[in-house]
């Protein structure tokens, strides 16, 4: 039971990460690797401010610096015309140094014994639930506004958005800022949840986010943006519960988490194509056997 509750809590907090990944990957249609750096950026920023006695300010600051990191990636893509994957990698790499220097040059930092948003509210589950749902609802509402719609349009058909006198460069930067702000918030909450921050915890986080988004879509269906945001959080919870129980029954060693995530994402992303190829092969076989049948009949 403790295990289940613990993994639901983690699922909700990482659900905010999934929201961020959903914004960039599904809505803006750009796989953004900045996330690997901005997650730790949020963690480090929150940890330092939490250690200084400002847990709430820490989370707010995490959102701001995360958004700033996303904006920088956006500017590299739109103003300096650097390939979007490479822009993410550049910012992520640069952030590694930034994250270390925020934590005073140390690779990890403990905030054990400090007040966090979880200790202040008393119930970890409640905080995680309220934050995940309210964030998903806020982001969902935002994408129904005019500005939100321009971002969805940019992801769908950039050329048309430009033709509608909308500055697509700006909408891209905005979407990347929102996505990375959410990811950094998730990182900050994780720091307060586990009471430490580690500079290496961003590695592979983008794949974990993608896995959550995809699991949510596969198991809960695809139906519009607002629904999609909630399935991303749902997918994150399901992902955490599955992982927790797989580890519990010693199905996998505890360090196999990332390989499993990578395989899940690989299967899910290749799924539609593999399905199509299989279907085509099947219909070709059917046609061939039909031709054979007819030939035999004619003879």
């Amino acid at each position: 039971m403790t295990l289940l509750i613990g993994s639901i809590e983690l699922g909700l907090i990482y659900g905010i990460l999934a929201l961020g990944v959903y914004v960039t990957f599904r809505i803006l249609n750009i796989p953004d690797l900045t996330v690997e750096g901005s997650f730790v950026l949020g963690m480090a920023t929150t940890a330092v401010l939490t250690a200084g006695g400002n847990p709430i300010l820490g989370l707010a600051a995490a959102v701001c610096v995360g958004a700033l990191a996303g904006t920088i990636t956006g500017l590299l893509q739109t103003k300096l015309m650097i390939n979007h994957i490479l822009s993410g990698i550049i910012v992520m790499t640069g952030l590694y140094t930034v994250n270390l220097s925020i934590m005073g040059g140390k690779a990890n930092m403990s905030i054990l014994g400090n007040d966090t948003i979880f200790t202040m509210a008393g119930s970890k589950t409640l905080v995680a639930l309220v934050l995940a749902i309210s964030t998903a609802a806020t982001v969902g509402t935002f994408f129904r506004t005019r500005v939100g719609l321009t971002i969805r349009g940019t992801g769908d058909n950039e050329e048309m958005v430009r033709a509608a006198s909308i500055d697509a460069d700006r909408t891209k930067c905005l979407a990347l800022a929102i996505g990375n702000g959410l990811v950094a918030l998730s990182g900050g909450l994780i720091a307060q949840y586990q009471l430490f921050s580690d500079v290496g915890s961003g590695a592979g986080i983008v794949v974990i986010g993608l896995a959550s988004v995809i699991i949510g879509e596969v198991l809960l269906g695809r139906r519009g943006v607002a629904y999609g945001l909630f399935t991303a959080v749902g997918g994150s919870i399901i992902y955490r519960v599955i992982i927790a129980f797989a580890l519990k029954v010693d199905l996998f060693p505890s360090y196999s988490l990332k390989l499993i995530s990578a395989i899940v994402v690989m299967i899910a992303l290749s799924g539609p194509y593999v399905k199509k190829v299989l279907r085509e092969k099947k219909s070709v076989r059917k046609r061939r056997s039909m031709v054979k049948h007819i030939k035999g009949y004619v003879r």
């Binding site: 005019r146 500005v147 969805r152 769908d156 050329e159 958005v161 006198s165 909308i166």
Partner: protein, 263 residues
């Protein structure tokens, strides 16, 4: 209204593949003019539209719209006053967004409806516009545009281009990818909207019959210049044969076949 002065555009400048797409093109249009453009492939028709829309740089020359110099302004700034419709029905709409969301994107800052993209007041207006198309789309406003046929998508795109009453409308063979029935329908809708909103319009077409019957003026382009410019009585008396004949006389190219102009 629209004044194009000595437009010059060169592709691949300074390389062996250098190609002069526009060589000092001049054109003046009055407000409400509906000009059709004909010319063979490579005459510079699409380059002209790209130059006006801000998608390619001018080497030389200037573009004035309503007295404002557009030269050097970015594409999205010009798009406030210029609507562009292309041949491919897939290009002008966002497929996963619904019809009403696409219209809301295009209506953009002209809407006074508040911060939400689809509000009741705007939706009423969109419904009215859609029902004027006579395609039954007003009952399918929540349908993603990707589910519509090519003709329906092009009709929605036409509404999107004109919804914020641009000063200038550029139609680049916008019916060429449609079957004859839908093409006629879209042309009818085009003429109606252009007339109602009194939008100055340029239309590229390969259909010479359409070029002479739609609009009030026809120009013929060749090698990046205007080689024929007819309107009024001269245009009314023009036949397709005479148009082809004048192309033969004035074009720098040796025509192998009349089809060059038509394809």
């Amino acid at each position: 209204m629209l004044k194009l002065e000595n437009l010059q555009v060169t592709f691949e400048k300074g390389t062996v593949g250098e190609k002069k797409a526009l060589r000092g093109l001049n054109l003046h249009m009055k407000e409400g003019d509906f000009v059709t453009i004909v010319g063979s492939n490579g005459a510079g028709k699409s380059t002209l539209f790209n130059a006006i829309g801000g998608r390619c740089r001018l080497d030389e020359g200037a573009i004035y719209l309503d007295g404002v110099n557009l030269t050097g302004l970015p594409e999205h700034t010009r798009a406030r006053d210029i609507g562009v419709l292309k041949q491919d029905p897939l290009k002008g709409t966002a497929p996963t967004l619904t019809i009403e969301e696409n219209l809301a994107l295009a209506y953009g800052r002209k809407s006074k409806g508040g911060i939400f993209a689809t509000n009741r007041r705007d939706l009423e207006y969109y419904r009215e516009l859609l029902s004027s198309l006579d395609l039954g789309l007003e009952d399918r406003m929540k349908t993603p545009v990707g589910k519509l046929s090519g003709g329906q998508r092009q009709a929605v795109t036409l509404l999107m281009c004109t919804i914020s009453s641009p000063k200038l409308l550029l139609l680049d063979e916008h019916t060429a990818a449609l079957d004859p029935h839908n093409a006629r329908k879209i042309i009818g809708i085009t003429e109606k909207i252009v007339k109602e909103k009194n939008i100055t319009t340029l239309m590229i077409t390969h259909d010479l019959d359409m070029a002479l019957s739609v609009g009030n003026r026809t120009i013929m382009m060749d090698e990046g210049r205007v080689i024929l410019d007819i309107s009024g009585e001269e245009r009314d008396n023009m036949t397709i044969e005479a148009l082809l004949e004048s192309y033969r006389v004035k074009s720098s190219k040796r025509l192998i076949d009349d089809r060059m102009l038509l394809s």
